[in-house]
Symmetry: C2
Amino acid sequence: MLAIVITRRELLSSMVAVSASAVLPDLSFAQARSSDLRINADRLRHSLEELSVFGRPAGGTFSDGVSRVAFTDADFAGRNYAMQLMRAFGMEPRIDPAANIFGLRPGSAHNLKPILFGSHIDSVPSGGNFDGDLGSMSAIEVMHTLKEHGVTTRHPLQMVIWTDEENTFAGSGSAAGVLQPADLSRVRIGISLAEGLRKVGGNPTRLAEARLSPGAFHCYLELHIEQGGILYKANVPIGVVEGIVSIDEYDVEIRGFANHAGTTPMKERHNALLAAAKLIEVVQEVVTREPGRQVGTVGRLQVFPNAPNVVPGLVKHSIELRDLSEETIARLGNEIQKRAQEIARDTGTEIIMEKAEHDAPAGADLEMQAKIEVAATELGLKTMRLPSGAGHDAQMMAKIGPIGMIFVPSVDGISHSPKEFTRWQDCANGANVLLRTILLIDRATP
Amino acid sequence: MLAIVITRRELLSSMVAVSASAVLPDLSFAQARSSDLRINADRLRHSLEELSVFGRPAGGTFSDGVSRVAFTDADFAGRNYAMQLMRAFGMEPRIDPAANIFGLRPGSAHNLKPILFGSHIDSVPSGGNFDGDLGSMSAIEVMHTLKEHGVTTRHPLQMVIWTDEENTFAGSGSAAGVLQPADLSRVRIGISLAEGLRKVGGNPTRLAEARLSPGAFHCYLELHIEQGGILYKANVPIGVVEGIVSIDEYDVEIRGFANHAGTTPMKERHNALLAAAKLIEVVQEVVTREPGRQVGTVGRLQVFPNAPNVVPGLVKHSIELRDLSEETIARLGNEIQKRAQEIARDTGTEIIMEKAEHDAPAGADLEMQAKIEVAATELGLKTMRLPSGAGHDAQMMAKIGPIGMIFVPSVDGISHSPKEFTRWQDCANGANVLLRTILLIDRATP
């Protein structure tokens, strides 16, 4: 329980009169000790397993996944569990108007901005027990580890569990000033976002107070499962995220003419689903014909009137394009748009393709990427740089400060599924890299 | 109000002692008179307009179409209207256990089987005012015309309004012995078929009594709108149906793997919707690459989980193939099945394509086709032979006796839509051809 104070030269020189030689042994001692510091892997696993109960299917086990959709009773219970964990080692949680849960550990240097880190604990319906949970429970575990080892950082440490990552980014979006008052009336799972926030302790009328001004934190760090199979396939334990991809989402409406499938000759048809089929293939072709990590997906599609004996008269579907480069997806979108109009001519349909959403890319800070690599290397863990194809609270934080993200492998690349799994050793590795990166950053501040 | 008795030589010779010369003038007189006989076009239009009220959208007009789904209150009211029309000129309707409405007009020759004709008055949801209604109201109109002109045929004339053509063929299917007891428990629009039959006057426990034995009728005639655009486009007022096409309906299930649309590289995907898109194009290609009137349709398609940001893991869709030749559609189905397995290999998916339904073709009787042509020609109306791509009660009757079908043009080929329309002159033409064909058949019996 030795207090290891990670100090800063300026602070020391301004506060205590010591010789340079007296400072150096202290630092190297602190460095040596912080190099040995490890999170408690069993305790981390235990908290992930305990959290998994909230939203677990009736009669199920850990491997049956979780439905902890934001603002449901399961979410409320999961949040209470997290706050109970924090209180257990003396950290009093604070809930802001956006219902984000914060936990502060003061630093020794009062003029430094906090290092912010965390994730979320809400899930998609029938999701897994690692998406968000790992980063959240690891943030608590890092705080607990520092507390039990009596380590005080120079920067204040601020952990956070963001509200409703999976649907609205209500928590991190409020912090970044992105959430609009109009969003509060959006209704989902039967209640508005405003009601949802109120239910879990937020205060939608004071949402503006949840906003963090640019520069409010030193940096933001998030540990998360990859939710893809790149690390798992490459057998690399630590991913260093280069950035979170830009997303263009289009709404496509294909207007043909519904008619009797028995009496309408093939040549007389204006078949909206045939046009959609051609467009789905075009999306695949345009996205894959050039090298790169860009992806394109038609994930949602509805047919009208949707009867076996009626030529489809109307099809609505999404097209989603993602890449770190927003220029790339803009160019792909234009090419698809052009090809869509050719399909419309060929099939006697009308195709309206409109951009429904644009998420700018969120680059990870290069310094932070380097720090994560150093931390992992010091822990003997191989790393790989990769983009995040999934959205994360970190992309909101990137709007107001430098961010870094640590990925750990998802077995078989599966996520948003009860089958989502990250090996316990990988979970512990990720939490240790998070801890060590925080300490490296803290130490690196001039 | 002169009674015109269309007689048969055998009957005359067996019942009354007359010379051949005495018979011939009678016949030619009768022929001359029956050639002049016309239905009342205004009355037919009036009854179609009055019937259209039952199931009309609130506040709508005739051109807003009708939702008279079988067994709904609208169907019940429409049936009552039809029976009231029959009673108005002295025809007492009879309801059989399958809730079919029959109206009998005795013939002069008691050993001849009835000439059966009619259609249905139930509609699809948001359907039109001609599909079924025209044949039903024309059947009543033919009976009314014969009554007011005092014409007695040699064959008894039996008109019929069949129950629930649009969904279960409950009426004509029971008459043909096709409906199974298990079908009675099928639930639709909230009630079982048994309950539905009971609601409109049927008796499901005695359904077997609704069955007509083969040879129970001399022939079956049905006037119907084409529900396609062939006659309308060719500007031909009367279609002579060669037969009702055979239908093969397949259920297709494409099993891929649902995964995150942002984190799953294109090459790692098992995209069920991409596979479906390729299969939809294959259906189009296989069906259209050889000459003929065969059609193929993917009309119903569902995507799971159907979210913009999830690679589709499962797609279920229908494939429906139609042609007068069941060998043709069997061959096309086999070819599509083969190509589906190639697509499965190429896309890393599993494709299960299973036949869900097979309707045998129902050929129209060649003699009856010829009679319809003669009747139309005598009325100065051009004819065209064509298959019926749509199913009709006539296909059930074809299982137990010779059938003939008369088509009239649908404007722009539109049907199963509020926009369904058949010009009033075409309606009258169809009813007159029906009347004249009945009289020709009646006269032709040796």
